[in-house]
């Protein structure tokens, strides 16, 4: 399986990458880790005339703490997230999710920028970004702008990225000290996208949930923030009735596709279970 022909470009700076994308026009695609795009090109489902490979841009890699925010360069790989002490101590939910993405080889190449920018509803990081209140830095011919993850996703593979724009970094506010977290992902096998997955970040006070955010993966054409479900558990001790209410509120906003992972009813049902399990595990971890 050999992709169609294309021109290859390897700029050394974001500025050069943006200029290339502008001059090459719609035929050009930025190339990050390539583990979504290259398989699509091999199947000829994607036939870009030019690839602008972002691997030559040193400034797009790295994890930096900036006050109470963590900035992650778009070309930082899942493997690098898993190896990072900063992520382990500040944002352990990212490591829990990254370890569930594809397999070791793919994680050496797959990037956080590609994962969040592609708009694939099956990707895991977008729901985490909603849950954590992350912002994306987008750079293009008319300058740089910051877009909240919650405003970024418009539909399957449709995002707030304008033609010629590149997502260059992700900025995540540090969750509260002592927060509990969990990413529960049901998948058929290693390497599969989620049948259903839920991310939870919460804080507990006096045995009750003080704050809570819940994100959902692959249960809609975009990642979802389950606000009503989170509100259903705030102020509760996560008793059985509250968990049931939260799962029902989350299921109410799910509209998964029926595919080889199961019919709609099944995926919503297990989606509710992922929410329940993630809430319980997060509460158990909270200090």
């Amino acid at each position: 399986m050999i992709p169609g022909p294309f021109g290859y470009h390897r700029p050394a700076s974001v500025g050069d990458a943006i200029k290339l994308l502008a001059s090459l026009g719609e035929e050009a695609r930025p190339l990050a880790g390539g583990h979504s795009l290259i398989p699509m090109m091999k199947l000829r489902l994607a036939t870009p005339g030019h690839l602008v490979d972002l691997h030559g841009i040193a400034g797009l890699k790295g994890i930096h703490r900036d006050g109470n925010r963590i900035a992650i360069g778009a070309m930082t790989t899942q493997h690098e997230l898993l190896a990072s002490d900063e992520i382990r101590s500040s944002l352990p939910i990212l490591q829990e999710a990254a370890a569930l993405i594809a397999d070791p080889q793919v994680r050496y190449r797959g990037t956080i920028g590609g994962n969040v920018a592609n708009g694939d509803p099956g990707n895991d990081m977008p729901a985490l970004m909603l849950t954590l209140g992350a912002a994306y830095r987008l750079e293009g011919p008319s300058g740089a702008r910051e877009v909240m993850a919650s405003d970024f996703y418009q539909g399957a593979y449709f995002t707030a990225l304008e033609p010629g724009e590149i997502l260059t970094s992700v900025t995540i506010p540090l969750p509260a000290a002592g927060h509990g977290y969990a990413y529960e992902k049901l998948k058929r096998k290693v390497g599969d996208y989620a049948t259903a997955a839920a991310a939870v970040v919460l804080t507990m006070a006096g045995g009750k949930v003080a704050s809570c955010a819940i994100g959902l993966t692959n249960l809609h054409e975009t990642p979802l923030l389950a606000v009503d479900a989170a509100n259903a558990v705030i102020g509760t001790s996560l008793d059985a009735a509250s968990l049931k209410k939260a799962a029902a509120a989350a299921e109410a906003i799910m509209s998964p596709a029926a595919d080889a992972r199961g019919p709609v009813e099944y995926r919503k049902h297990v989606g509710g279970i992922m929410v329940t399990r993630a809430l319980q595990r997060a509460a158990h971890r909270a200090k």
């Binding site: 050999i2 490979d53 397999d103 050496y108």
Partner: protein
């Protein structure tokens, strides 16, 4: 599309070639360099038979363009034996523990396990299974592959691996 000149180090030797941008690394390795130990299995980034080691990372060479490997340092299955030609601990482990039947997945398994043991010289069984999760074997049921890797880890520490192959 014009061909582009690439150079890289493969199994310690400087190599060069002319590639179209769309040439996948696995095709460059197998066809230009005639190193056919690296196998093409699924061609869809699932099976891991094409795994090679690039700059200290296990990579599925069917999902990277040769041009992207320009300037890199690559080790394939042909570079896994000791410098004097004797089998490495891993190769010996696969032989002693019957870690292969048809052998198609073996080059990818060994190259991947090599990096796993570089990063984690004393992995648990669970860590081995997670570490080779990107490599599919349809013969062995994995049991003897796991043992082969345990054998190599033990041997590297100078300890005898006492379990028998299944």
């Amino acid at each position: 599309m014009a061909k582009i000149h690439v150079t890289m180090k493969v199994n310690g030797a400087e190599v060069e070639g002319l590639v179209e941008p769309r040439t996948l690394l696995v095709h460059f390795i197998r066809e230009n360099l005639q190193l056919t130990g690296t196998h093409i299995g699924c061609e869809t980034t699932h099976c891991g038979a094409c795994t090679v080691d690039i700059d200290g990372m296990s990579v599925k060479s069917c999902t990277m363009f040769a041009i992207q490997a320009n300037g890199s340092d690559i080790t394939t299955i042909e570079g896994m034996a000791n410098a004097d030609g004797t089998l490495s601990h891993l190769q010996e482990g696969f032989r002693q523990m019957h870690g292969l039947q048809c052998g198609y997945c073996t080059p990818g398994m060994i190259v991947r396990a090599h990096r796993l043991l570089q990063e984690n010289p004393a992995p648990t069984e669970d860590e081995i299974r997670a570490g080779i999760a990107g490599n599919i074997c349809r013969c062995t049921g994995y049991q003897n592959i796991v043992k082969a890797i345990q054998y190599a880890a033990a041997k590297a520490k100078g300890v005898e691996f006492k379990e028998a192959a299944e």
